[in-house]
Amino acid sequence: MARAQIRTAGFDGFLVTFGDALSEPANRAALAFRAAVEDAGWPEVEETSTSLVSAYLRFDPFQTAHAELQGRLDALLDSRDWRAAPLPANRRLWRVPTCFNGDHAPQLDQAAHAAGLSRDDAVASLSAARVRVNTIGFAPGMPYLGELPEAWDIPRLKQLSANVPAGARCVAIGGAEAEAIA
């Protein structure tokens, strides 16, 4: 994706997307762009957030037309090279003790198989990767961590998992993983 893409998200939102798949520059761009929208203090903007590769904003379309806000987002996009943005300050390294045995890892074999790894290699790979919180979402406080080695780029499950316990470590799409710690 050469330039970022601006799309509507729902009737009253915009999504500014910096990549088709998770990457370090796209995630940094999303974080920096959201911070810039917050700093701009536009009165019709009611809320902002980020996903892995996008900045999102919700606004009041009765106050400002979609086209006008999109124009402002366009101008902000062109004002700098967002993919070159530095990481936010004040980051910390956490070590999260994780159990991969028995009932604690009901889908580990399935995931390892999809990644073409043995169970032991899968555990070693997941434990060696140093990841960063790319975004928080889906459920309250749930961090999406990335990136994992390429082997973990495995397809999504066809059905929703009805219940994932707090503390579970899950592998999501594009080598990002999600940590259910809510």
Binding site: A9, T17, P61, G137, A139, P140, G141, L157, A172
Partner: protein, 340 residues
């Protein structure tokens, strides 16, 4: 002592709800709040109070409630069989409930979510700036027999008012706009989506409703391999088996299934209120059309809420007739209460 509601029985999923907690998406917390916000506004209009006050949301059926003091109530949303000490109460109306009387709210007769609003609002402690239960986030929980909910001060006195009913309880046509992934589905799939009749599945909750198509499911070109993205209430998320879910107030904040579009905010109450089996269709509209539809809806709703009318009751069926004060004061004709 402050007034309270005593819950003697509550159907599964009955909870305190308000307008939710906007502003927490960045922490992964969706706004939540009432599944049918229009019903909450109707309750507030009937009681002449702020629509931000908390009420009781009742999915599919209500329960038995008692009040520790005389209390004004309003019954809105999905019409449920309600009675006060055996006398049937009109739905979509406000009533005065005497202290200690048993208010029984049975199953929904149309729609899905009924609402019990009270004068002064339910005054449980705020968590993160609101009182609404957010089941997915573990904020609050379902009401249980024995619960006692404090009520706020009620300066109002008006009761026995009703509002013109609105048709949003039996499915219908949902207008939707393009969303981030609409283009992935292609024009042909989008046209087939619009031409398809859907039935609301039994799988539905405050997070979203599943709609089963008459015919084949739907799919996006890139299928299950798109990166997780922001999701918002109204989004029509198509899961791996091709069945759409329309997301509601308590949906997650990000999701990885492709979305074919996003239902307009003004049609979300229709999504929430569609009972299992209800027939629905989807109609694509442009952003400009959406703006017109939303503007018209807001204007019509404001006008309707501004004009509650007295509930016409037949005195012969009023078991509580003698409970009314027919003379509100006496003077000797020379002095007046204000000293004039």
């Amino acid at each position: 002592m402050s007034r309270a509601i005593i819950v003697h029985r509550a159907s599964p999923g009955v909870s305190v709800q308000d307008m939710g907690r906007p502003g927490n998406l960045t922490f992964g917390l969706s706004r939540g709040g009432a599944a049918d916000r229009i019903a909450l506004r109707e309750g507030a209009a009937l009681l002449g109070q702020d629509a931000g006050l908390a009420a009781i949301e009742m999915p599919a059926a209500g329960g038995i409630f008692e009040f520790t003091a005389q209390t004004r109530i309003a019954l809105t949303g999905a019409r449920m069989r309600a009675s006060l000490e055996g006398t049937r109460l009109a739905w979509g109306a406000s009533h005065l409930v005497p202290m200690g009387a048993a208010l029984t709210i049975g199953p929904a007769e149309t729609g899905f979510y009924g609402y019990l609003s009270v004068g002064g609002g339910v005054d449980t402690p705020e968590v993160l700036g609101a009182r609404g239960t957010h089941f997915a986030a573990g904020l609050g929980g379902a009401l249980m027999a024995g619960d006692r909910l404090p009520l706020g001060e009620d300066p109002g006195t008006r009761t026995n008012m009703c509002l013109a009913p609105e048709q949003r309880f039996g499915g219908g046509t949902l207008r939707f706009v393009a969303s981030a992934q609409t283009a992935l589905f292609g024009a042909e799939e989008l046209a087939r989506f619009e031409a398809t009749v859907f039935h609301r599945d039994i799988r539905a909750n405050r997070m979203g409703s599943r709609f089963v198509p008459d015919g084949d499911g739907f799919g996006a070109a890139s299928g299950l391999s798109i990166v997780s993205e922001v999701i918002v209430p109204g989004d029509i998320q198509v899961t791996g088996d091709g069945t759409p879910f329309v997301l509601l107030a308590e949906c997650g904040t990000t999701g990885g299934y492709p979305r074919i579009g996003s239902v307009l905010p003004c049609d979300l109450a229709t999504v929430a209120q569609a009972p299992a089996g209800a027939t629905l269709r989807f109609k694509f509209v442009t952003l400009d059309e959406a703006m017109e539809i939303e503007t018209r809806h807001a204007r019509t709703l404001d006008a309707r809420l501004a004009a509650p009318v007295p509930l016409v009751r037949d005195p012969r069926s009023m078991r509580d007739l003698l409970g009314y004060e027919f003379i509100s004061g006496v003077t000797d004709g020379r002095t007046f209460p204000d000293g004039g």
